[in-house]
């Protein structure tokens, strides 16, 4: 099992550009999450999904969109990148009965200049 994989590892965007952060898990987990981590801060939840076709907003969803067409994939879309979106983005997944035990991907470091 590869677990949770994320691509790309690093990206630099110009203000106003768009991009999609990819996340895939091969553990057949129904629940998937996107977090961002700013320097010196904890992780903040952007969006989550409890299954294919179902997504919901977390604490900081503004400026982002998600989709969940399959159990495995949960891409995060930035439409108009802003400097405030400079952060490290983590995707995670869990079983429904084990929300406490989330498996995290290696992260994507995004810089918007």
């Amino acid at each position: 099992n590869a677990g949770v994989t994320q691509t790309p590892k690093f990206r630099i965007l110009k203000i106003g550009q768009s991009m999609t952060l990819q996340c895939t898990q091969d553990m057949n987990h129904n629940y998937m999450y996107w977090y961002r981590q700013d320097p010196g801060m904890g992780l903040k939840l952007i969006y989550y999904s409890v299954g294919a076709g179902i997504t919901d907003k977390g604490e900081v969803p503004n400026g982002y969109n998600v989709s969940r067409s399959t159990t495995e994939d949960f891409p995060l879309r930035l439409e108009l990148a802003a400097p405030s979106q400079t952060s490290v983005y983590f995707c995670a997944s869990s079983l429904p009965s084990r929300v406490h035990e989330q498996y995290f991907g290696p992260g994507t470091r995004l810089t918007v200049t």
């Binding site: 939840l45 929300v99 406490h100």
Partner: protein, 112 residues
């Protein structure tokens, strides 16, 4: 206002020392408190605590929850340089598939 508060935010100790990391929380429908260790990349799960007073132990790490005080501590004894990491505390609320609420973390540095 932060729902999960960790202290200290950073800590530098020498190898062999014992450290205690603190986490306090304020949530409406508490289900569990989690500790994660974050080294260079992704956080990895350490402990889940749901009941007051019951210590969870894994090697030199241990943790306990105090539901009356809405807090938890994470102890690391006989620290090693490999314990250097950010330790994250998070809270899971009932009824939520909506992820975890994390504290800012304690950045622990163990000097040889």
């Amino acid at each position: 206002e932060d729902k999960v508060v960790q202290s200290p935010l950073s800590l530098v100790v020498h190898e062999g020392d014992t450290v205690t990391l603190n986490c306090s929380y304020e949530v409406t429908n508490f289900r569990s408190l989690l500790w994660y260790k974050q080294e260079k990349k992704a956080p990895t799960f350490l402990f889940m605590l749901t009941s007051s007073g019951i210590e969870k132990k894994s090697g030199r790490l241990s943790s306990i929850l105090d539901k009356k005080e809405l807090s938890s501590i994470l102890n690391i004894t006989a620290t090693q340089t490999g314990d250097s990491a950010i330790y994250l505390c998070a809270v899971e609320e009932k009824g939520g598939a909506d992820g975890l609420t994390f504290g800012k973390g304690t950045h622990l540095i163990i000097q040889p």
